[in-house]
Amino acid sequence: MEIFLQQIINGLVQGSVYALVALGYTMVYGILGLINFAHGEVVMIGAMLALSALTALLGVGVSALLALPLSIVLAMAGCMVLGYSIERIAYRPLRHAPRLAPLITAIGVSIVLQNLAMMIWGRSYHSFPQLIANDPHNFGGAIINDIQIIIFILALAIMAGLMVVVHRTKLGRAMRAVAENQHAAQLMGVDINRVISITFMLGSALAAIAGIMVSANYGLAHYYMGFLLGLKAFTAAVLGGIGNLRGAMLGGLLLGLIESLGAGYIGDMTGGFMGSNYQDVFAFFVLIAVLVFRPSGLFGERLAERA
């Protein structure tokens, strides 16, 4: 029972990070109908930027409590610039091109970012400094750390904030209008390019936070961390119904749970044939299963068949 509870806790924490990244995929997809393959790399760049900023700030003697929020803000700003540039350079010129073209540039951007990161930060794992007290709490026999609590609550708060932005502000209304029908939105006086840019920037800011959360949780950052994370977050977005914000959040949490329970019990289920080293495989099978049985996702109203 304790193991079960522990896996639930781990799954929810990991899942809330997936949800944040999945939101980035789903927002862009909702508006452009495009899968932003490079999104996972933005997450990685966010973590790396925060790490560098932290190291630099701590190096010049800034106190830890000030350095952490500062570096988070810096990483977010950096990722917003990055997200904006990706859209400008790789997607905007191809908005009316055949579908294959932006997919290929997206892959290109992803490869370029990954290798730039490798050149700048090297191939080795970087340890993420532990700045806030990370006391473990006993929770019905399972252990939950301070950092995990912070990640979970912060993720929920950010998602709530995003919902407010999308449903209660003028910008949010413009975003929904562009997602519904670009031409009609334009005729109503919505500056489409501006809305799309802002969407990319919002998604990238969320990605930066998610990246920092992942590396703070595991204490590690690596140039390759974005790839699998991106793949899983995309799965979460599809699971929830791509293009649907609430779906992405629930899909993320659900995927986190599936993965952590699956990894916890796969040994028992297969009689020891497969161990937790197959953890990364679950997301993939979830993806295939969703695509076979319910391509529009759990909460998707829009049909995922071709537009």
């Binding site: 073209a101 290109g108 490869i111 370029v112 050149m119 793949l231 997301a283 993806l287 068949e305």
Partner: protein
């Protein structure tokens, strides 16, 4: 007939040049380069296989190297002493099937994986296929890395070694052979083998391109709804393209395993998939000549970089700042972006493809 008259001499010259290529390369650049040329041929085969999927049918496959891996491991398991370790009772000496049995087997198994992967995803939009194949490539690698316990199938990260060399009519290609008084070192022999297979793949691609199936693929690529309105069974044909590409990948994988004598999961990373995709995109999707040239360029590029980047940096900065490996990938990524933005139809575009993808004015007027 006219074609034969017009290009006959040119074709003959090309064939002779290709037949002499290993000897010329050997004499001018050294034996190491013959090996590089061999690998270039393998890459061309792979790129031609991917060209069927991406170029003809317009389906973006980002895990293509997984089929290559499947083929390579098929050969490795069916032509090495490895299985003796796991099943000493059933196979006391391991399995040593003939090359001519393993090759079709590898192609068929890889094709089967292609169908398995394509069936659920091909009904959906192309984006899904791209990301599912991306995941599939990674999954295959995870399985190859972990299937060494509890039953040792793939030997995990260490990979499988001591793989039988390819033998044609009981003549192993792994040792120097003396034919008509001419010495043919192993790399030369493999070159001819690969040349023959590449020619076969080119021939098949060309026949496919002009067949009913090929035209149906291109119709699907250009407008799926219109194609299905014309009575094309889009799902089955997309599946066929996918399986066909996977089979070519599997066959090249088997050749790779026989040539290399060793396989490990490391050879089948995402980077390789991207590299093959780059070859197809750079040369011109859907154009055989373009793909071949793209393949040659990108297979030779890493070697050129290795021999130029490091010394150049030594001269300029006195130390190596950027290793050629990551520079190569950076260039590949950048090439994908730049090609799509400025020459979407590739360096040597196929005519149909240019009309579809490009804004080329000369073609637009047609």
């Amino acid at each position: 007939m006219k074609f034969a008259q017009k290009y006959g001499t040119l074709l003959a010259a090309l064939v002779i040049a290709l037949l002499l290529l290993p000897f010329i390369t050997d004499a001018l650049l050294g034996r190491g380069w013959v090996r590089i040329v061999d690998f270039a041929m393998l890459y061309i085969m792979l790129a031609l296989g991917l060209n069927i999927v991406v170029g003809y049918a317009g389906l973006l496959d980002l895990g293509y190297i997984a089929f290559f891996a499947v083929g390579a491991y098929c050969y490795a398991l069916a032509g090495s002493p490895h299985l003796a370790m796991t099943f000493p009772m059933a196979f006391p000496d391991g399995v040593h099937l003939s090359f001519w049995i393993i090759l079709p087997m590898a192609a068929l198994i890889a094709g089967g994986f292609g169908v398995l992967l394509g069936a659920p995803t091909l009904r959906l939009r192309g984006d899904y296929l791209a990301i599912v194949t991306l995941g599939f490539g990674e999954i295959i690698r995870i399985f190859l890395n972990n299937l060494n316990a509890p039953i040792n199938l793939t030997n995990g990260p260490q990979g499988i070694s001591r793989i039988d060399p390819v033998s044609i009519a009981d003549v192993p290609l792994s040792v120097t052979q003396n034919i008509f008084g001419i010495e043919f070192p192993s790399v030369h022999l493999y070159f001819y083998l690969f040349l023959a297979f590449t020619a076969l793949v080119i021939l098949i691609s060309q026949r496919l391109e002009r067949s009913r199936i090929g035209r149906a693929w291109m119709a699907i690529r250009e407008d799926e709804i219109a194609a299905s309105a014309m009575g094309i069974n889009t799902r089955n044909l997309k599946l066929l393209a996918f399986a066909m590409g996977a089979m070519f990948g599997g066959a090249s994988g088997a050749l790779f395993a026989g040539f290399q004598g060793f396989v490990s999961p490391e050879s089948f990373s995402l980077i390789e998939s991207i590299m093959v995709l780059c070859m197809v995109v750079l040369g011109g999707m859907g154009n055989i000549a373009g793909v071949v040239i793209g393949g040659v360029m990108l297979a030779v590029l890493p070697e050129v970089l290795r021999h130029s980047v490091v010394p150049l940096q030594q001269v300029l900065f006195g130390k190596t700042l950027v290793d050629p490996e990551s520079l190569r990938m950076l260039l590949f990524g950048a090439a994908l972006i730049v090609m799509m933005l400025y020459r979407p139809a590739g360096l040597i575009p196929s005519r149909v493809r240019r009309r579809e993808l490009g804004t080329d004015e000369a073609v637009d007027k047609v």
